[in-house]
């Protein structure tokens, strides 16, 4: 078991406001890490710093052994990031969208064709692969976003609120997919969310972030007291602030 993500005092300030305050945490290989916290707690900013898309004001991070500030490219090659509102080129078909991402990842044409078909099949979009993405429903777009992560065969994925605004069936499908990623492919998953029951169902390790600080982090089984639900745990830490 090696630490896939490790941060030391990671801090990001915007002007006088501190969005992320001296964050230190670890995610182990094979974990499904539930990244909890209210809106505006700094979860997305943390993910951006881990990907090298935003520079930290202080502190260091290592992702898969690379420093995101100095070496963002290998991280981006190995890490799939599904942003909160995933965007596609609406005037291209699903296959064309995936093909573009495959080319940006410099996959060989043959490999990318194969990867695209497997990924579409996996998220259940094979039959609509040649439709324009502009016609897709929100649930389909979210699944296409997951397919986009799969074609680059990542070691680690960041999912930022992947189930936001989906119907119960859509949520179920996405969570199943996420779990199967971790189970079948051994992909480490970081799932940012504030829907606690989902996190409880899917994650083995959690971190709770409030106002830029990590107030609790560890294995879900260790953090919860006897008979306590994740919601009670969350509220306990939330009210301490």
């Amino acid at each position: 078991m090696a630490a896939v993500i490790e941060t030391q005092g990671l801090t990001r300030r915007y002007g006088r406001q501190t969005a992320v305050d001296a964050l230190s945490f670890q995610v182990q290989e094979g974990d499904v890490f539930g990244f909890l916290g209210p809106n505006g707690a700094g979860k997305t900013t943390t993910l951006l710093m881990l990907l090298g898309l935003t520079e930290p004001s202080a502190g260091t991070a290592r992702v898969l052994g690379f420093d995101p500030v100095r070496d963002p490219l290998p991280i981006k090659r190995l890490v799939g990031y599904l942003p909160e509102n995933v965007g596609f080129y609406d005037d291209l078909t699903a296959r064309e969208n995936l093909g573009y991402v495959a080319r940006l990842n410099r996959l060989a044409p043959d490999a990318s064709r194969g990867n695209i078909e497997t990924a579409l099949d996996r998220v259940g979009l094979s039959d609509v692969g040649d439709k324009l993405v502009g016609q897709f429903s929100r649930g389909m777009r979210q699944r296409l976003g997951l397919a986009e992560l799969l074609i680059k065969d990542p070691k680690l994925v960041f999912l930022d609120e992947p189930t936001l605004g989906l119907d119960p069936d859509g949520i179920h499908k996405i969570l199943e997919l996420i779990l199967s990623l971790s189970r079948d492919r051994g992909i480490t998953v970081v799932l940012s969310s504030h829907l606690l029951d989902q996190v409880q169902r899917t994650c083995n390790r959690i971190g709770i972030m409030v106002q830029g600080r990590m107030v609790a982090t560890g294995l879900l089984s260790e953090l919860t007291r006897a008979g306590e639900s994740l919601e009670q745990l969350y509220m306990r830490h939330f009210q301490q602030r």
Binding site: L53, K76, V79, V101, R103, L104, N105, R106
Partner: protein, 315 residues
Amino acid sequence: MATIFRKELSDHFASTRFLITFALVLMVAVVTTSMVGAHLREALEGMAKPSHVFLMLFTTSGQFFSLVQFIAFFGPLIGIILGFDAINRERNDNTLSKLVSQPIFRDAVINGKFLAGIVTVTLMLASLLLLITGLGLLTVGVVPGWEEAGRLAVYLLVSIAYVSFWMGLAILFSILFRSLATSALAAVALWIFFAFFIGFAADLVAHALAPVANARDAEQMVANQRVADAASLASPVVLYSQATSTILDPFRRTRQNLVMVGPMEKFSMDRFRNPLPLGQSILVVVPYLSLMIGLILACFGASYLTFLRQEIRST
């Protein structure tokens, strides 16, 4: 970067707005050429020994305007249309955060977009020029000589630089402004100012810096005019039209609008007009061209720096 460049290029060519602008440009080209062609025959009848007839296709105005004037005024619009939503559309569609989280350098995005835009402009203007050449051969029946072809090539180069500058400016605005409408309007406002109002602005500057107290005082007039000319050079539109008119009209030896000549001098100039050789015309134009390339580089540099510093997150 090659991937982004290819996608942007195919986006340009597949887009409806490209087809519409291109159709419009082609239509105007055909109409002006045929008008000029008809007009040219009459104009040539009075001349004893006309030279550089072919270039007159581009510089003579028919009923409305010459082709050179058309590109000077509406070329910017083409550039703006190609560039105004380059970055902010991707930002609004949330595809930008996806793009930058792929294993590419962030500057590849901006380089690819600039390059694809410049190639589109090049293809558009080159095909326009060739089309007019063909139409000119048909309607007027003159064949361009080597020197004329050379002049046209230089003209094409300057025009590409000019339209690319406006495209670069539009891309810069698309980085600075989040809203598509704001960036389009900002670019269009700048275009309108530089195309239509720069004359007034230059006069204002000239009257402030070198006032003419006595309208009969030639020295004051010249000083005033010099300042006005220099001030109007701040406009790329003026820069471009002066550069191209020198290139396409070999009889122009100077870019100055106001030349003080005595009656005898004027007479001899009219009587013994000789075209400037191509090499000399190019020498006259080089400072303009380098200024224009400098402007493009400034736009590109500013776009590059702001884009690399911006934080990209989906909202």
